[in-house]
């Protein structure tokens, strides 16, 4: 089973987490960007077969958004850090309301 080592709670099964998708995307600046940039941000995916940077929220634990590197070909999990330490800005995780 996929196990995610939460920096705050330790190794936990993935079912305690909420998947938040591709974290390599950068949201275009509000106002300025072309429609094309917004389209690419929302709808296009690199979808790599290999290392993938992605968000998970530990909603049944510390409730923090994490930034996880996972190999999509093997499900091996590499680095896991708190998303807010990744320079994404507070509340920038997908699903943030």
């Amino acid at each position: 089973m996929l196990v995610i080592p939460c920096p705050l709670c330790g190794e936990r099964p993935y079912t305690e987490f909420h998947y938040g998708g591709d974290a390599s995307k950068r949201r275009p600046a509000l106002g300025g960007a072309e429609l094309r940039a917004w389209h690419d941000y929302l709808f296009l995916f690199d979808n790599p077969k290999g290392p993938h940077r992605e968000y998970w929220q530990h909603h049944q634990g510390c409730r923090q958004w994490l930034l996880v590197v996972r190999n999509t070909a093997t499900n091996e999990v590499g680095e896991v850090i708190l998303a807010r330490h990744a320079g994404t800005g507070a509340g920038a995780g997908p699903g943030a309301r």
């Binding site: 993935y14 998947y19 389209h39 929302l42 709808f43 296009l44 690199d46 070909a73």
Partner: protein
């Protein structure tokens, strides 16, 4: 073609003469009019209709593994046309009509079993939604019948009708012409029929790159060398992003894992296809007696083709919530396939920004039932270098144009939500 018939069957039964191979083991030639990447149901059907409907002479299907290794041999075999979004409704009904004549067309019994599919409602709002869906279907000439609780009970007496039922059955929507098809037979039947029209089916041949110049795609690089082609189509199910990336394209697709399950065989019991209304869960019984069922994707993009155990449990819980009587059955096997998921749950059958390169992908949960129509419409799209009218709604640029309105259940733009 060595035609299959009753007299042939009898003659072979009475002699030890082996049946001939169903298709040649073709070697790649240096040049084709059309080359299709991916020997699943979609690629094979496209090749067949290119030859049968459009008279294209030199067609190749290149498959990196063997025919039937992909999702065409991994799906749960359901076919239906109970769609309500414009575009989907017409396309999937066309596909069902092609299924209805397919065994004859291919001279291969694909064992279409129109046993009927019942989608259940467990809340009044769900009944309203099913009534709306059924009305849209009927307005499009598709069979649909709204069932009340008592009617469902007559057809499916083994559901939980007790007062303790967590999800009481209020009714359902029946499509009588929906059912199942033997999936392997679809791959083999199209392969054999395409081969007999001269299509080269090249197994063990993986596309590793594209040959391109200013005028567009001119062929592919493979582990068996370069193959030139005037037109190239991608039909690789869960690997569309991977193959499109070789041509420099980035797609609105994420690859996700879907599991399927089969129990030990039992006597005939589930005589329809049933879709649970409280969760994404559906069940039918195979001719061998096993209950075949499936649920949601695992929920995070991956290519492992190995499902997560918590999902096994979740699906099993759905099975027992729906049919308490099967709680003691043993699961015989479970397996997984990788499928493209898209921002609106709809597929792509279209030209691409690169000349002479065509895409069929993004099939989410629903590509098997679409197989004949995919083949028919993609073949026409390639032959005329213009989208067949039935697939104009499946263009790659529909999000950019604000024309994406295929989301049957309003799940929004995240692929893993569909």
């Amino acid at each position: 073609m060595y035609r299959y018939s009753l007299s042939r069957l009898v003659r072979h039964a009475l002699s030890d003469r082996p049946w001939p191979r169903a298709w040649r083991q073709a070697k790649p030639r240096s040049h084709y009019d059309v080359l299709i990447i991916g020997g699943g149901g979609h690629g094979l059907a496209t090749a067949y209709y290119l030859a049968a409907n459009h008279g294209v002479q030199r067609v190749a299907v290149v498959e990196r593994a063997h025919i039937g290794a992909g999702n065409v041999g991994r799906n749960t075999t359901l076919v239906r046309s109970n769609y309500m979004m414009k575009g989907n409704t017409e396309f999937f009904e066309f596909s069902l009509q092609l299924w209805e004549g397919l065994s004859r067309e291919l001279n291969f019994n694909v064992m279409l079993s129109q046993r009927g599919q019942i989608v259940l409602a467990h809340a009044p709002a769900q009944m309203d939604a099913l009534a709306r869906r059924g009305n849209i279907m009927r307005l499009n000439g598709i069979d649909a019948e709204l069932l009340e609780r008592a009617q469902v009970r007559r057809l499916l007496p083994y559901l939980d009708y007790s007062s303790a039922a967590r999800f009481p059955v209020l009714g359902g929507l029946l499509q009588g012409r929906a059912g199942t098809v033997r999936h392997d037979a679809v791959a083999w039947g199209y392969a054999r029929a395409a081969d007999s029209l001269g299509v080269d089916i090249i197994e063990g041949c993986e596309v590793t790159g594209f040959v391109q110049d200013q005028s567009g795609v001119r062929g592919v690089e493979t582990n068996r060398g370069r193959i030139r082609a005037d037109r190239v189509a991608i039909a690789v199910a869960g690997h569309s992003s991977q193959v499109a990336a070789l041509a420099g394209l980035r797609l609105p697709i994420e690859s996700h894992l879907l599991q399927a399950f089969v129990t030990e065989p039992i006597k005939p019991f589930v005589n329809h296809v049933i879709s649970f209304g409280a969760e994404l869960f559906y069940i039918s019984q195979s001719d061998k007696g096993g209950l075949v069922f499936g649920g949601h994707i695992d929920g995070f993009n991956n290519y492992t083709q190995r499902g997560q155990l918590p999902q096994v449990r979740r699906v099993a819980e759905c099975a027992v919530a729906l049919i308490p009587g099967i709680s003691r059955l043993k699961l015989l096997r479970h397996w997984a396939g990788i499928q493209d998921m898209t921002p609106d749950g709809g597929p792509f059958i279209c030209r691409t920004p690169i000349r002479h390169l065509y895409l069929n992908g993004g099939w989410c949960y629903q590509g098997f039932k679409a197989t004949p129509a995919v083949g028919w419409c993609l073949a026409a799209t390639i032959a005329h270098d213009e989208e067949h009218p039935l697939v104009r709604c499946y263009a790659l640029d529909r999000f950019a144009r604000g024309a994406a309105s295929l989301d049957e259940y309003g799940h929004g733009h995240r692929p893993y939500r569909h």
